[in-house]
């Protein structure tokens, strides 16, 4: 094969587009949780596969950035590997799987188990940015509800859950109130990760490519997961530790192991799991 034929602009998108997205981002950061419309572009990836996240990353990435991409929690899935390779090619940036080494972390679902620090940016790929969408199909009406701070309808959904199942059954994309003002969908992140958004040191930016919306949670912002006084928000929890590394208090994936319904539970965050397991091995070897 011959060498690369096409010269890409850094980050693939042209400079005008990146400027447009950065402007949108500034507005999104200025109004935490508010969905700002933007002129979503084509990227070499089908809509619905993370085009919003890819555009955000393309608009903010620079040559001194280090990129980490996770799909679910894993660095080694097809989508994560491909997006990392893509930015390595078009932006020439180094990539990593280590959470604390990354300056930009693009994600599909999870927030890494390793706590995020100042200066890190989480980029989310969002399918449905409107938390009220399945309750109120009209965009004109949901925008008005956001404008007038009318969020009673969201509680109807939670009420229905409790009436039907005895508890709030929503376990992902669990609605949050940002900075005590805007109702926001944290994309399909599990509710397990919701508490990590509250007063986070990192900047969280959300891109919905198909729906053409960008929104953000700046660092040190209040993020409250909705609930009733007598049925407060409860993040998911797991009874057993990870079957591979033994971690507790982490988000686990169910992995089917046979045809008889057997399963094991292991960390969804592959970086966290590998390193915890390696550390345990070292300690064993040392003792």
């Amino acid at each position: 094969m011959s060498a690369q034929q096409i010269e890409y602009n850094i980050g693939y998108l042209d400079e005008q587009t990146k400027r447009m997205i950065r402007r949108t981002l500034l507005k999104a950061v200025a109004i935490p949780g508010f969905q700002v419309p933007f002129a979503s572009r084509e990227v070499p990836l089908p809509r619905g596969w993370g085009t919003g996240g890819v555009q955000l990353t393309a608009a903010i990435i620079g040559s001194d950035d280090v990129l980490k991409v996770i799909d679910q929690g894993a660095d080694d899935t097809t989508n994560a590997v491909s997006i990392r390779a893509f930015f390595n090619l078009v932006a020439g940036v180094p990539t990593t799987t280590r959470t604390e080494d990354a300056t930009i972390i693009q994600t599909r679902h999870r927030i890494p188990e390793t706590p995020l620090g100042e200066g890190q940016i989480m980029v989310y790929q969002v399918p449905i940015p409107e938390p009220l969408r399945f309750l109120e199909p009209r965009e004109t009406e949901t925008r008005r509800m956001h404008a007038l701070n009318e969020y009673g309808l969201m509680y109807v959904k939670l009420y229905e859950d409790i009436a039907k199942y005895g508890h709030i059954a929503k376990t992902y994309d669990y609605p949050v109130l940002v900075n005590d003002r805007y109702l926001m969908a944290p994309s399909p992140t599990p509710s397990f990760d919701n508490p990590k958004l509250h007063q986070s040191q990192a900047l969280h930016i959300f891109g919905a490519g198909r729906e053409k919306r960008i929104y953000a949670i700046p660092p040190h912002t209040d993020v409250e997961s909705l609930g009733f006084e007598d049925y407060p928000f409860e993040p998911q929890s797991f009874d057993q530790p990870c079957a591979i590394c033994g971690s507790t208090g982490v988000y686990l994936d169910q992995i089917i192991t046979d045809n008889a319904g057997g399963a094991m539970y292991a960390c969804s965050d592959s970086d966290h799991c590998e390193r915890t397991a390696a550390r345990a091995d070292n300690e064993e070897a040392a003792s």
């Binding site: 009318e150 009673g152 309808l153 509680y155 009420y159 007598d230």
Partner: protein
């Protein structure tokens, strides 16, 4: 009662569709606890008037002054959208002819009645549910239907559910647009009975649009008769129906089938 002023003062109110008037030059006062019927044939401007009064349609001419909960009098046309929506949430009710327009058909009965409470800031599930269940009983819906959706309800039950949803926040003024029209006669009678007792228990002011003079006679204190967008006659209901003055009212009254 310290109600020295009417709840609603309507002066020369018109609503225009393009260059045609849907209703024109309407004047009346509505006092707390009063039930006003608006009657007239189809196309006479009754529903347009109701829409204008409830601020669903804009006021092309005239003024509507409403005495707020705190005693201040507001000119409705000058209120911001958020202030009008607050009125809808907390001080007004609107009962649609077709219950499906006023209910969320895929949400349980309890959720439907609880929604206005949640919109007004109730955040305690147990209390919301208890209040909703009480209201279902008040409108004669069995408690054990609280988790069923209105899609599984009969027409009469849906209409009663819609009324519960509107009254649960103790509004001061309720607009009703032909609330009994789609129902058969015996269900109509029961519903009217229920509306009448709730109205007197809660001291509600009601504006009810109907083409059925019997409904007006049964529950309203005063009646406006509309024709071609104008009020042709108004007065105490019994007076208007027993001694109609305007030729059109005479025609309307005489066209009721006598049993």
């Amino acid at each position: 009662m310290s109600d020295e002023r009417p709840l609603l003062e309507v002066r020369n109110v018109s609503h225009r569709y393009g260059d045609r008037f849907g209703c024109r030059g309407v004047d009346f006062d509505l006092w707390p606890g009063e039930v006003l019927a608006v009657v007239g044939e189809s196309g006479s401007g009754k529903s347009t008037l109701l829409g204008t009064l409830s601020q669903r349609l804009d006021t092309s001419e005239g003024s509507i002054r409403y005495r707020l909960h705190d005693g201040d009098v507001a000119n409705l046309a000058e209120l911001s959208e958020s202030a009008v929506r607050r009125l809808w949430r907390s001080e007004w009710g609107f009962v649609h002819q077709n219950a499906a327009d006023g209910l969320r058909m895929q949400v349980s009965a309890g959720g439907n009645v609880g929604e206005p409470l949640m919109a007004n800031g109730w955040r305690h599930y147990g209390r919301i549910r208890a209040e909703a269940t009480d209201w279902l009983e008040r409108v004669e819906i069995p408690r054990d239907r609280v988790d069923d959706t209105p899609a599984a309800f009969s027409g009469g039950m849906r209409q009663r559910l819609q009324i519960a949803r509107n009254l649960v926040v103790s509004p001061r003024l309720v607009f009703m647009d032909e609330p009994t029209s789609g129902l058969d006669v015996s269900v109509q009678a029961r519903l009217l009975d229920l509306i009448r007792s709730l109205v007197s228990d809660l001291e509600l002011a009601v504006i009810i649009v109907t083409h059925d003079l019997a409904v007006a006679r049964l529950i309203s204190h005063r009646t406006l008769v509309m024709k071609d967008g104008r009020v042709v006659e108004s007065g105490l209901t019994d007076r208007v129906l027993d001694d109609p003055q305007a030729p059109y009212t005479q025609l309307l009254v005489s066209s009721i089938l006598q049993g």
